[in-house]
């Protein structure tokens, strides 16, 4: 099995290379044809036109776009992601600083969203053909129709302002110091042995993760339900009933095990969307992640950051996709046999 998975992973990595190249070309060309001047953005406001022109040449912006792209790609392959025109510092450092917070938030969002989705899917299937199912169905549509940033504001209002039980700014309370080891706050609090800070960080993560996760749940609910409906047409379910197993046992032991595979694929796709959704959620909850950096970059037309963050999103989505495919292979013996 390990060899099969290794082969699949290798193949998917090879396919990822042209995908990344295509995305990088797309990103680069689109950003270059926008009516903005990165040179003008990287000089002081009172710089003269001659100084801007000098900067333009320094940045290679006077060259044809294909040549600019090749230079950028060459630098990228050497590990040089360029210099931010707004922050005037290396882009790689900025992305490396902010990426862990976004990954942490997205993973937590996915855990919450996936958990909600799975529980919701099971519940709605359990109550199939009843009024409860109809009510739950309306509920999922309602949840789906609200974008994650509106959920963010709603959750903030309810849990932060009205009930005042959950914090919604930043990652830690003012009286606590942030440990810095890996950049992953939850992990760092554990590494440095600070359980109080760990719990506090977890509290701060609940609302943003919920805002992200809630939007991810409804599609999972719907796919799991329809997948369960299909599975329940199979002979082994009837045989399980004939063996006298309880409905709950059939659902959890036999139905779910077989219906989970399409749901897992969907969760992979959802994770990609969820990662993109961090942009606004991070702004609203003052979360120091890559989404916040991206909004800064867009506001300041900081092309090197936009390009790098865009590519990083792409890499993350590809990595998740490869991981999900591997999991699929582990869970589905039929695929391994092929």
């Amino acid at each position: 099995m390990t060899a099969t998975i290794a082969k699949l992973v290798m193949r998917r990595f090879l396919v990822a290379i042209p995908t990344l190249l295509f995305v990088s070309i797309l990103l680069f060309v689109v950003l270059r044809i926008l009516p903005v001047d990165p040179a003008a953005m990287s000089v002081p406001p009172n710089a003269t036109l001659a100084e801007i022109e000098r900067m333009r040449e320094q940045m290679g912006l006077h060259l044809p776009i294909p040549q600019q792209y090749l230079i950028w790609l060459g630098d990228l392959l050497r590990g040089d992601f360029g210099t931010s025109t707004h922050f005037r510092t290396g882009v790689a450092g900025l992305v490396a600083t902010t990426l862990p917070a976004t990954i942490e938030l997205a993973v937590m969002g996915m855990i919450l969203g996936g958990g909600l989705g799975l529980c919701g899917g099971l519940l709605i299937f359990y109550f199939r053909d009843t009024r409860t199912e109809a009510a739950l169905d309306v509920g999922t549509i309602a949840v789906l129709s609200l974008p994650d940033f509106l959920w963010a504001l709603f959750l903030m209002l309810v849990f932060g302002v009205v009930w005042q039980i959950l914090p919604f700014t930043g990652r830690l309370s003012p009286d606590l110091d942030r440990p810095v080891v890996t950049g992953f706050l939850l992990l760092d609090t554990l590494i440095t042995g600070q359980p109080k800070t760990f719990v506090n960080a977890l509290y701060h993560m609940i609302l943003p993760a919920m805002a992200l996760g809630i939007s991810a749940a409804p599609p999972i609910i719907r796919v799991l339900r329809s997948s369960l409906l299909d599975t329940y047409q199979e002979d082994f379910i009837h045989q399980a009933r004939l063996r006298g197993l309880s409905e709950r046992r059939i659902l959890l032991r036999h139905g779910l095990k077989n219906a989970i595979l399409p749901t897992l694929s969907l969760m992979g796709v959802q994770f990609g969307f969820l990662f993109g959704g961090t942009l606004l959620v991070e702004i609203i909850f003052s979360y120091p992640g890559m989404g916040n950096l991206m909004v800064d970059a867009i506001r300041n037309t900081d092309l090197p950051i936009i390009q790098t963050v865009g590519l990083t999103y792409c890499v993350m989505v590809l990595l998740v996709s490869i991981t999900v495919d591997s999991l699929y292979l582990i869970l589905n013996p039929k695929l391994r046999a092929r």
């Binding site: 903005v36 406001p45 600083t97 919604f168 003012p174 003052s286």
Partner: protein, 507 residues
């Protein structure tokens, strides 16, 4: 549902509520610390690198400036104990304090002053202060506590710039030791607070600098949460998760201010909302420009968008600043607007048409003001197309002389000096000016080299008046800063909108 399951669920719910409720972070103040919800972060912790008005209070917490401004915007000694601009404006002699130490305990010296304003600029680093001090030839060190700035052209506003954006003293030895990148990661200054934690776009934690040379801050620990979303800032201060915030919508200030534990303020500051104009295209006709100006009801704009707190302006200088012209008023007069348009052959049947650029969200209610202006002009038969531009694009368009006839803009000038208002906005050689005509540009250029303060200020007052009367600029309102704070938190209100943690204390 079985009774047993129900009881189990209730027990679980109660336990969960206890855990969550009991361990929820406490937001109350302890008398020694303050939490602030601030709308933007610093571009980097190199204070000489980037000009960003909203970052000034953050920089001023960590770094000191050679000259300081008090709450009434008077220039007062800070790191410089005294200074004097030469009559010809070609040099500025100064003395520094001898009791100032950086956060690492090393004393501040003349070398640090020379390094900040001369050596860093001369080294060719990409710093915004390089443009400010481009006329600086050298800083001569005369003694351990005195020296001279030597300029190659008259620089009459050198003292003002020493109290303005980017002019923060950094430690030479430390910066050379750790490098610029190292400094940005672990910055030290001579200011009232040390940075003990910084996470970009999220939070800054300051702790009091116990060896501070100046007035010791009352607050020991300041947590600045960077909260960009105005709704989140409102929620933060309403829920007690922040004790103070700024730049929230006016209606929210009114709502929150009515709550017993909160105070809401709408404070006029040294920021001007104006229309920057071209002198060509549809605006090559002075009658048209003046008609456009006469048709604007500034009082109505102030009432509608700033609760009446924004002062209507007739010159590009707020009341109380040196360039303000007392008693001069450009009237709101629809009949006069119609007359001027008719004199140039325009009427509602043959309307004058132009384009106005505006940002949406760069300053409070910008887009709404633009839409209101379009409606006001419609009353006298002026047809305007709105073009929404990004703030970042504004500079680019202005530099390339590509802005349309009018641009709604907000101009910040913490010093209040007229050079940094009218001078910059009407100097045809500067990229800030949309107006490129010889007049009043030539007069402004002369004032840039005028070393005598009284003559310079009188000159700017006259230019301000003339610029409005000829339609070279259209000042609208003195901008306001909205602020909401815990009723027990005191702070010093500065005329330029600075909100400094060092000035805060609890009742």
């Amino acid at each position: 549902m079985k009774r047993r399951s129900l009881l189990q669920m209730i027990a679980l719910g109660t336990a969960g509520a206890k855990i969550f409720g009991g361990a929820a972070p406490a937001f109350a103040q302890d008398g020694r610390s303050v939490t602030i919800a601030w709308p933007s972060d610093v571009p980097s912790w190199d204070p000489n690198q980037r000009f960003q008005p909203d970052a000034q209070p953050l920089f001023k917490s960590v770094f000191d400036q050679p000259i300081e401004q008090d709450a009434e915007l008077n220039f007062v000694p800070s790191l410089f104990t005294e200074w004097e601009l030469a009559d010809d404006g070609l040099s500025l002699s100064f003395s520094i304090r001898d009791d100032v130490v950086f956060h690492d305990g090393t004393p501040m010296t003349m070398e640090d002053i020379r390094f900040t304003f001369y050596e860093r600029v001369a080294s060719g680093e990409n710093l915004d202060i390089a443009n400010t001090w481009r006329n600086l030839e050298d800083i001569e060190i005369l003694s351990p506590t005195s020296g001279v700035f030597v300029f190659n052209a008259p620089t009459p506003t050198a003292p003002q710039w020493l109290a303005f954006m980017g002019s923060f003293v950094v430690p030479k030895a430390y910066m050379e030791e750790v490098g610029v990148e190292g400094f940005r990661e672990r910055p030290i200054g001579t200011g009232p607070y040390k940075i003990v934690e910084y996470q970009m776009n999220s939070r800054i934690v300051f702790e009091r600098h116990e060896e501070y040379w100046g007035e010791m801050p009352a607050i020991q620990r300041v947590t600045v949460n960077i909260v960009r979303d105005p709704s989140a800032r409102v929620a933060a201060v309403q829920s007690g998760q922040a004790h103070l915030t700024i730049n929230v919508p006016v209606r929210e200030v009114e709502r929150l201010g009515a709550m017993p534990q909160l105070e809401g303020e709408i404070n006029p500051i040294t920021r001007v909302i104006l229309l920057q104009l071209r002198h060509d295209m549809a605006f090559d006709d002075q009658n048209v420009r003046l008609a456009v100006h006469h048709a604007i009801n500034k009082q109505a704009l102030s009432q509608a968008f700033y609760g009446g707190a924004a002062v209507p302006l007739s010159v590009v200088a707020p009341p109380g600043t040196p360039g303000y012209v007392e008693g001069f008023e450009f009237p709101y007069d629809l009949d006069r607007a119609r007359e001027l348009l008719a004199a140039s052959g325009f009427s509602p049947d043959n309307p004058v048409r132009f384009t106005m650029a505006t940002t949406n969200g760069h300053f409070p209610s910008d887009y709404d003001i633009a839409r209101a202006l379009v409606q006001m002009w419609g009353e006298v038969g002026i047809e305007v197309t709105l073009d929404v531009i990004e703030y970042a694009r504004y500079f680019e368009l202005n530099r390339g002389n590509q802005l349309p006839e009018a641009t709604l803009y907000s101009w910040d000038n913490a010093t209040g000096d007229p050079e940094i208002f009218t001078g910059y906005l009407l100097n045809p050689q500067m990229p800030f000016s949309a107006w490129k005509a010889e007049q009043p540009g030539d007069r402004v250029l002369e004032l840039f080299a005028e070393p005598d303060y009284e003559t310079r200020i009188a000159g700017y007052q006259q230019v301000n008046r003339d610029a409005t009367e000829m339609g070279a600029t259209m000042p609208l309102l003195q901008s306001v800063q909205t602020l909401v704070r815990d009723g027990g938190l005191n702070y010093r209100r500065y005329g330029n909108g600075w909100v400094l943690p060092a000035s805060m204390s609890w009742s």
